[in-house]
Symmetry: C2
Amino acid sequence: MATQTIIAQEGTFLSEGHTDVPAPLQVPDHGACTAVNDVLARVGDKWTIRVIMALGTGPLRFNALKREIDAISQRMLTRTLRVLERDGLVRRLVEPSVPPRVEYSLTPLGRSLQEPVTVIGQWAMDKRGEVARARADYDARDEG
Amino acid sequence: MATQTIIAQEGTFLSEGHTDVPAPLQVPDHGACTAVNDVLARVGDKWTIRVIMALGTGPLRFNALKREIDAISQRMLTRTLRVLERDGLVRRLVEPSVPPRVEYSLTPLGRSLQEPVTVIGQWAMDKRGEVARARADYDARDEG
DNA sequence: CAGTATCCAGCAGGATACTG
DNA sequence: CAGTATCCTGCTGGATACTG
């Protein structure tokens, strides 16, 4: 029963949830291919990698993380962290003090993602030039 | 000068281009990190992987590809292919006949991407259960 | 067959203001 | 400090109709 499936009837808004985290809407599950693309989509969004990279060197508190990444909005940092936490990639540790201290760190699962990501990262770096040239060629061709 | 930078002044729409391909809008280039996230974003979009997978077994014509992937709209297949072609990952071969035959295939560069992608794919498959459990836990916790 | 053109809904993500 | 709440824009992607 993992990952509850929430079926929205038309007109339903599901805004009961206490906050802004994107709804865990999910189609019945088409198996492997869906799982793979899920990960790619998550990792391909605007901030996930930056956050994982930043936490790669060690735990960080919310604002430290925000300064590290810089240019990320408070809202997106919170959302990204919540999703990562939900998926078990990031651990959130609250020290109940005033003012509060919240420390984020990678879980073992989160750390295990670093390597696969690095592999594509390497590809991206290696092939940068080739892609750039291909684009230049393509753009030159149709703009003539 | 690779990858022309198009600066849009406010009010500019750049709809000169002959078709629907998303504009090659680009910030000055923040180096490595941008390149990596570029690739992740592309690969993380809804159809890119499916297309690359489908072409992995050999060249395919437009409608064959469409049938193979199924559920993809004509518009998105065209767009995805154009982007992939522009980046030099896919080759487009037109046989000027009536009706036209257009064959798509992976370039060597495109094939070189299959491996890195497979690595994350493997991770996704391996960790599926763990992620699902983490989500179930998280969802159970806050819905109490 | 292999596209283009158009329209439109929904979500990602930014800006800003407020709070325990 | 570490968030929430609200509002708003623009892009992604689907549906549909038309064409060389």
